[in-house]
């Protein structure tokens, strides 16, 4: 008995250490390495500050009040990378294929380490949803439809806060580009998560899912593929259309939306959750993309193609209907009400994650608009508290964009650096200048003097 207990303790230790080894091995990949730039020049570069990794991302789980935590962003970056090793990415001209980087990105041993830690990261990132979303009681098809119709009706009759935030920003074009940056992580690999569910044989549902997928992929016509339409839109706006060019600028909640779809698609036991989430997103995109199109037309005076949003305003009316009538209703009839809690869970979880991502986007646009006030606030606060951290770095040293769980006073004592808050917002901070960084707001730095010393103080 004693021997058995001892073996079991050792086995647990072995699993824990083997998970930690897999995490360390995974984070050691070239894809995550320290970059020289804030923008990636290859789909195989995913700078992620692996030096910040702690075992907590594979041994604990986030709570809903920890979403500004820097480990949240880090875990989302790692998880997206793990999912995207299942997908094929090739550089587009003028970028050239670095065959070594390509092979390294898809290295099977490295990929296997990712697969090992994937369920742990999923638990860390999404377990909190179980505490925030409860589904109980006896549900039936009619009550499911009554509930979801009301939610969608409320969305249809509400004003678009996104339209208001973008068009009333102090710099609407910058705000719109930041919005597009957040979309890029998902839209440039359009519907890849969805593709995970069209393999196998789920009877008539395979065909129904496939119909939606072929719309997304443009029926084999590259110009019609939704990701191609989105690339055209990015180029119209003077932005890069290369996959993950803006990798460092994705907020954790934006990454969370993309990863959630992979999470409920890669784990096929969550199929009904996926169908519920897909119904919510397709049905609401038909409504929200109208406002997005209107905002872009207004901000860029009609000089930017809004085909991407217009296409979704049209086709997602069909996709929402198809999800309900061709998938959900026949599935409930065939498999019974036992699947309804998962359907509602997916619907509600994605709705909650979307709301959080929207609020995070609005907070970033406000932070960009008010950066000068945050600089003035820093000057007023400097010297009032003992500093937490003093760092000296040399020229061109770059801090990959990241977030903090608290408001922080960032202050330059000597030298000079570039402080980056968005692709369109970089300020130079010299000795005797600083900025207050609100919690959860993305930022990065690059030293532009031979040496630079700065301090960080939680406030």
């Amino acid at each position: 008995m004693l021997w058995t207990t001892q073996l079991s303790v050792n086995a647990v230790d072995f699993v824990l250490s083997s998970n930690a080894e897999a995490l360390t091995h995974y984070c050691g990949a070239a894809a995550f390495a320290q970059p020289h730039d804030f923008y990636t020049q290859s789909p195989y570069q995913r700078p992620s500050r692996p030096q910040d990794v702690t075992d907590s991302i594979i041994t604990t789980c986030l709570t809903s009040d920890q979403l500004s935590n820097s480990q949240h962003l880090l875990a989302q970056r790692l998880l997206l990378n793990i999912y995207e090793q299942d997908l094929v990415f090739l550089p587009k001209p003028p970028l050239e294929l670095d065959l070594k980087a390509f092979k390294s990105f898809y290295d099977p041993v490295h990929t296997a380490s990712g697969k090992k830690i994937r369920p742990l990261l999923e638990h860390y990132l999404y377990n909190w949803l179980k505490e925030e979303v409860h589904i109980n009681g006896p549900w039936c098809l009619d009550s499911f439809i009554a509930h979801t119709d009301k939610v969608l009706d409320d969305v249809a009759h509400s004003e678009s806060k996104l339209h208001e935030v973008l068009t009333t920003s102090r710099q609407p074009e910058r705000a719109a580009r930041f919005f597009m940056t957040q979309c890029a992580g998902d839209f440039l690999s359009e519907a890849s998560a969805m593709a995970r569910n069209v393999l196998g044989n789920s009877g008539v549902y395979t065909s129904e899912l496939f119909k939606i997928l072929i719309d997304e992929y443009g029926y084999g016509v590259d110009k019609k593929k939704h990701s191609t339409i989105f690339e055209d839109m990015l180029q119209d706006m003077g932005m890069s259309h290369h996959v993950h060019h803006y990798w460092q600028f994705y907020t954790p909640a934006s990454l969370s939306l993309t990863n959630y779809f992979h999470y409920v698609s890669a784990n096929h036991g969550e199929l009904f959750r996926y169908i519920g989430a897909m119904y919510y997103t397709e049905a609401t995109l038909a409504l929200t993309t109208k406002h997005q199109s209107r905002a872009i037309k207004s901000i860029f005076n009609g000089t930017v193609s809004t085909d991407y949003f217009d296409e979704h305003a049209h086709i997602d009316v069909h996709h929402g209907r198809m999800a309900l009538q061709r998938l959900i209703m026949p599935m409930i009839k065939q498999f019974g009400p036992q699947i309804i809690p998962d359907l509602i869970r997916g619907f509600e979880e994605f709705r909650l994650l979307q709301d959080i991502a929207d609020e995070e986007l609005y907070a970033h646009i406000q932070w960009h608009d008010e950066l000068d006030q945050h600089r003035a606030q820093a000057a007023a606060l400097q010297g009032q508290k003992p500093v937490d951290l003093r760092i000296t770095e040399t020229e061109l040293e770059l801090s990959v964009l990241h977030t903090h769980p608290n408001d922080e006073l960032f202050w330059v004592e000597s030298g000079e650096l570039e402080f980056v808050a968005s692709p369109d917002l970089t300020v130079r901070l010299k000795a005797g200048e600083g900025v207050v960084i609100p919690k959860g707001m993305l930022h990065g730095t690059r030293i532009c003097s031979p040496s630079c010393t700065y301090t960080v103080t939680a406030i």
Binding site: N136, V151, E348
Partner: protein
């Protein structure tokens, strides 16, 4: 059927026509359970919960009822943060009330 959304802090007891339900919350569940004891109609919303949290004891005859069984006669609910949604018949009136159930969630 019609869907209704309530602020959870404004309703720990709901009347749907003649039927009444009380709010019962756990870390991973939020239920609107029937108040009427299946035995003699006692007020389950005034009953104790067993130590394991899995059963409610009717204050009239001390019968214990598994929550998972009571849930079969509950209202269907979705709780997201502080909102709870349920669905009732098209013509039914749903009236939320406070301070009737001993459970405040």
């Amino acid at each position: 059927m019609k869907a209704i959304s309530l602020n959870i802090s404004h309703a720990n007891y709901v009347a749907v026509e003649e039927r009444t339900y009380f709010l019962k919350r756990h870390a991973y569940s939020t239920q609107l359970l029937p108040t009427k004891c299946p035995h003699r109609g006692g007020p389950l919303h005034m009953g104790e919960v067993t130590g394991d949290g899995q059963s409610v004891i009717c204050p009239w005859h001390d019968n214990a009822y598994r929550v998972c069984n009571l849930e079969k006669s509950a209202l269907p609910t979705v709780r997201v943060r502080n909102r709870i949604s349920t669905v009732v018949g098209d013509t039914e009136r749903c009236v939320p009330q406070l301070k009737i159930s001993r459970y405040d969630g």
